[in-house]
Symmetry: D3
Subunit: 64 residues, 6 copies
């Protein structure tokens, strides 16, 4: 039943598998809730849709 959502940039398919597997295992161990009950969403954004410190990541990466 616990739901974990990560908001970040793009991840490869393999990284998503690893994220789902390891974060579920760690969260299950900490909370003592069976891993079968966990739902994880990988909520990806492109660099133009993430802002840090008032600039988009796209701007930061372009060296502005």
């Amino acid at each position: 039943m616990p739901v974990i959502t990560i908001q970040m940039g793009k991840m490869t398919v393999d990284k998503k598998k690893e994220f789902v597997e390891k974060i579920t295992a760690a969260a299950s161990e900490i909370t003592q809730i069976p891993s079968a009950s966990f739902v994880v969403f990988v909520d990806e954004y492109d660099y133009e849709s993430i802002g840090v410190g008032g600039q988009t990541l796209a701007e930061k990466r372009a060296g502005k």
Copy 2:
């Protein structure tokens, strides 16, 4: 003003229409808040971005 967000896999356009219509009607009836005030977001994820029980839905569907 109430905001309902559903996180799930892909839905067809017709299913989204039906979801918005029926969920708004049901929620309006329960809360006694006019349906005009409700906002609904259908937040779709591909099967590689949803994890259940430590595996992505893509892995589960591939029979792993």
Copy 3:
């Protein structure tokens, strides 16, 4: 696995039960996903923490 979150004002315990029951039933019927897979969160806010049209609901209710 679908996760439905509603952000709104306070609801009574009975209204929450009714919301969880009826919204899950409606969403399950529309999506053809078994109701057992649905998770619902009722995310309540007080009127000072919800803004509509640039005013908090607390201000609106105070007749400002």
Copy 4:
């Protein structure tokens, strides 16, 4: 550390830059938290995935 997420329709790249810049500046000034600590996500939905008053924006725009 404050995280601001906006859920809405599509925005152009320039509008996203402006949104990130101006909303971070305004929120930093109000909260007195340095703008460097703010993270902003622009969470875009197409008109078929947003419902208002029981209809999708796609339906509303089609004049139904």
Copy 5:
């Protein structure tokens, strides 16, 4: 219809009013969507429920 949610620590009632008013005005001007359509949620967390860099803000403030 755009929905803005800020996740952060506690804010005073006056700061919430100011946040709702100014963020709605800025977002309306940028997007050219009428301010009446905006919904804002101030989603407050105590310092034990926010982590930055692997530590809760409560730990950081205790000088650990």
Copy 6:
């Protein structure tokens, strides 16, 4: 900059510390993004505000 939000029941202060520490470490290792950039929110709900399979957790625990 990645933001991880967990929605679940109540957690003790010690469990929250452990959650923030270990989930940040695991996510940082998987994504190769420095742990200093991660923000984590523990979004707690009481059992009357979480529904699973059409019933609130409060109802399930009462043995209904």
